[in-house]
Symmetry: C2
Subunit: 267 residues, 2 copies
């Protein structure tokens, strides 16, 4: 694998200039960026900052949210933004059930159709759409794609160079079919991104900001890293943690812990 | 199906005497009971109360928690208690990872072994062990059995008369393999209990007390009821909701809403 990447969400309140300088200081060569932060900073300016520091952008989070009315235009903008930042990977979180719908099958079909509609734009921009299955606790309001198998089935009709999947330990660790899924994703050439976060309890209200740094929770990180490597993945390994307590600490300190969590996982 | 049953957890603060009287008043003929409440009331006394009122005990919750050191003795007591209450169904929630373990496969194997160890006791008592898969958000701390398929695989080595599974809409609704799983459970004669609760967001801190009464959330209850009926299930349908706001309301009012949620589901 190509080594560690700091996903910007892990150090959410670290200003981008400081984050880039901190990565360079720590010998880190890649970052995963988020659209909101990049847009606030200025996309062109962010691209230059990162490039001038010699960093690779391993992914841009996130497109998707296909339950929203403006999904098509919004995702086209996300593809353009990824291209402008020089990353080949746009992470897609599919979105949940629209309105008060209970039609989960229908929502999943719509995700497949929406991705199909975006493939030509993504190919033209040289950006790969990376479908991220989220933990089933996000199924109603954030991501109807709840397993790796589902993500692979949705990706299947499209070229692997255009549509891949994200393997995030936090979302998939509970699933006993995930090991076969990772092997399948490797065979099909679909692994677009590999992200580490740990499962810790109790979950906070709303459950979004409950992730632990790798090594602090229930996930067998080494098994995941081995499975993804054996599946032939040679990209970056992002650490992507959302947690208020982690966010409240100095960026460089969190970066150091993220890095050592990564090292323990891949050792 | 044999009709509605009020699971006691839905009206947690309703004293058992009042709950039984309330069920009789409402024409409800079955209740699901919980060990703690029954033990506090007195098991023999609770059994007489319910029997004298003409109510069936559709299930006793819960045995399991196999990650705890005293699981064997505790589950034998649970089996005895179920028999004393005159119910043929003991719901098992498997328990989570022991201590700081990350060995999820090992924990799942242990659940299978533990159930195997209890089968003779259950058969002798005329009580069926009903494995309940819980939502994957409970995987680390409450239930390593996260899908219906897993529950069926764990049950497979044992006679269907001794080991069955629980189908609870709240825990399984996100899973696109659940429809095949319900059909399989029917073919294998494993459906021991069917419970209704709805998925509502945002989830509260700790996520345990976040369930909605049937009809208030994202779950397609009618599809579940149809699938379970078509799988040949002819037992009771319990409404089992854990929610602080629901618990704060008068029992009879909650019972009426649970009953109309059930009726909408099975209509």
């Amino acid at each position: 694998m190509r080594g560690f990447s700091l996903n910007q969400a892990t150090t959410k309140h670290w200003p981008l200039d400081d984050l880039v300088a901190g990565c360079v200081d720590a010998g880190v060569t890649a970052v995963g960026l988020w659209r909101e932060e990049v847009t606030d900073y200025g996309t062109e300016k962010a691209g230059s900052l990162v490039r001038d520091a010699g960093l690779t952008v391993s992914s841009l989070c996130r497109g998707g949210f296909f339950h929203e009315a403006d999904w098509y235009d919004e995702n086209r903008r996300a593809i353009e933004q990824a291209a402008a930042l020089g990353t080949d990977t746009l992470v897609l979180v599919s979105g949940g059930l629209p309105g008060k719908s209970r039609d989960l099958d229908g929502a999943r079909r719509h995700v497949g159709d929406a991705i199909g509609a975006l493939v030509p734009d993504a190919q033209a921009a040289g950006v790969r759409l990376a479908i991220e299955p989220l933990h089933p606790m996000f199924c109603s309001d954030r991501c109807v794609v709840a397993t790796l198998g589902q993500a692979l089935d949705i990706a299947a009709p499209y070229p692997a160079s255009a549509v891949g999947v994200v393997i995030d330990t936090y979302h998939l660790w509970w699933d006993d079919t995930v090991w076969d899924g990772i092997a399948r994703a490797g065979r099909e050439g679909r692994i677009a991104s590999f992200q580490l976060a740990d499962w810790i309890t109790p979950l906070p209200s709303g459950v979004l900001l409950g992730r632990g740094l790798p090594g602090t929770g229930s996930v067998d990180m080494r098994r995941f890293a081995r499975a993804v490597r054996e599946a032939g993945y040679d990209g970056h390994v992002e650490v992507e943690v959302f947690h208020e307590e982690v966010w409240s600490r100095p960026g460089a300190e969190v970066l150091a812990e993220a890095l050592s969590g990564y090292e323990a996982a891949v050792s």
